[in-house]
Point group: C2
Chain length 344, copies 2
Amino acid sequence: MDISERKLKILQAIIDDFIHSAEPVGSRTLSKKYNLGISPATIRNEMADLEEMGYIKQPHTSAGRVPADKAYRLYVDKLMDKYVLSEQQKAIIGKKIMDNLVELDSTIEHASKLLSNLTNLTAFAMTPKNDENILKYIKLVPIDKHSVLLMIVTETGNVHNTILKIENTYTEENLNVLSKILTYNYKGKTLSSITKMEIIKDFEEDIETMSRIMKNVMPNFLSTLENMLNVHLYMDGLTNIFSLPEYYNIEKAKEFLEMLNQKEHIAEVLMNRDSGVVITIGQENPDTEMKDCSLITATYSINGKTVGKLGVIGPTRMKYSKITSIIEYMTDNISNAFKLKDED
Amino acid sequence: MDISERKLKILQAIIDDFIHSAEPVGSRTLSKKYNLGISPATIRNEMADLEEMGYIKQPHTSAGRVPADKAYRLYVDKLMDKYVLSEQQKAIIGKKIMDNLVELDSTIEHASKLLSNLTNLTAFAMTPKNDENILKYIKLVPIDKHSVLLMIVTETGNVHNTILKIENTYTEENLNVLSKILTYNYKGKTLSSITKMEIIKDFEEDIETMSRIMKNVMPNFLSTLENMLNVHLYMDGLTNIFSLPEYYNIEKAKEFLEMLNQKEHIAEVLMNRDSGVVITIGQENPDTEMKDCSLITATYSINGKTVGKLGVIGPTRMKYSKITSIIEYMTDNISNAFKLKDED
DNA sequence: TGTTAGCACTCTATGCTGTTGAGTGCTAAC
DNA sequence: GTTAGCACTCAACAGCATAGAGTGCTAACA
């Protein structure tokens, strides 16, 4: 059966209405709200056809109709009006993107946030698959006696760092030369092609002298340092709460997850906690949003200085003794691992 | 009123039972399950006292008792047995931490994941507040005509990079000298103290010659390159689904969030999609987990090459036309911003 | 021949009711 | 001081009636 003009109109009305209301759409509603010029009865006849053709479905016998996937497909391909962004919306998008242009990765990270805000949906963004990227620069930088930072920079401004462990001793100059040779050797090639090349030939060394200082870099130095004082916060197991009976309730679960989504807020709460293992239970938490939760945190140290935090959050009903032991053991391990490492 | 030995035993039993079952605990249950040697009636009397003292609560008249915050506090301070980790548990924790020792940040990131797995709760971990960190090394690295990478390395192995825009032209040698002087000047000081110092004095230049190549760095080079081919995936607005009637249901919401939590999986799905704006609706998605969702993605390009993706995921009922326009406008903006930038 | 009004029918959602069972507090006996 | 017994309370659940939204079918109408 071919789909008539009138059926299309009805279908469009059903889709529009359902996108708005998320409720099955009935024939009476259609006839009243959208002036199609025909009665509910006629619409019912048409809807019966549309259902037979697979465009709409009934959740149950006495319910209205709901668009099927096939209807959305038709809608997207044929029916959909072009949505024109207002100048204001365009301005906001343009500005947000321009504001975060420093590096591709951060542009994309912000784009994802922006998109989720604009659409009220879950948004995602992916950075390039780098294998078509062209290598621009390679640099080896000394970190300590046995570690070297390998930095790879591509034409698109992508910067990638890895720390390598080196067994031999080395001097900074060694690294400079190696950097030059690597760069000379691979510059202009795509990353994926390099992984397939025969490597390592000897090259003549290239000795250069240095000249004078560029002072105009300095103003940026301080702001970078300040920026560096920021902490990083990692969070995992957000969906674990769904297995707890305490949170078998959309409102509670939503509240909990939204509280945790404000990372800056959590970071602040953590920073204000004392050293060592700290347990705060329910009302003891200064934060009203956490009044139903318990928080267990412990601190780890680097070179003997108390610096970072590790912990869990959950309902007041939790296995305090087991969890405390685990957290304590983990922070002890971390502290030990970073104790007086590479002291030279 | 002072709390008697017997009351403590009863309280402990209530807490233990509730931590396990999350159900209010009744006097009969207590008397049967924990051999306290007294009858339910006696327990009831004691419980009435405990309630008066604020240690336990009744959700409603004919329900059992539930521990109050005050009870947990007592439990944590006095009653709680020390939980002894098994050798196996210790081994797992120790190994996981040792396996990720390259850099503090990644150690901490993995620690958070591990903790959430072990406790089945929401875990978090915070890296050090760097202001007590001691500066070890500063390096300026050329990126292109107008950009320089400023790298700051601290004693604790923290590495921080920022890209600075430079107006004057410069040579690589300039940067090397500057790096040396900055390092000489600030090495050994804490980050926060540096932000308060008077800066910039002139220093004599320090010219060095380079020697020979260290070849043992090379084996790491390839694996780093391959590692670099990884894409980054950003995701935002996860909790937005809670405002959709489609997901006003714990099972559905849980399913959706758990699907999205498998980042690798999502990345793969995204990579397999065509260029340009692509809309897949419900059943059209090759993935069974996404059969109830629609996915809208678009690609952006860098220097004219199609590389990255941006998109949203939501129920099949979504504002296709508006969302498509937004995504399209955003990818256009990004593509433009990164078009033939810094061509030299 | 297409359109429409009317009507019987279906099914969900809602609210009311009674029942069950877990748990309590009180009292009197041990 | 402890315990058995009993009346009482309340949440949870099942059963039932009702309301309301929406349908499909039929017969009448233009």
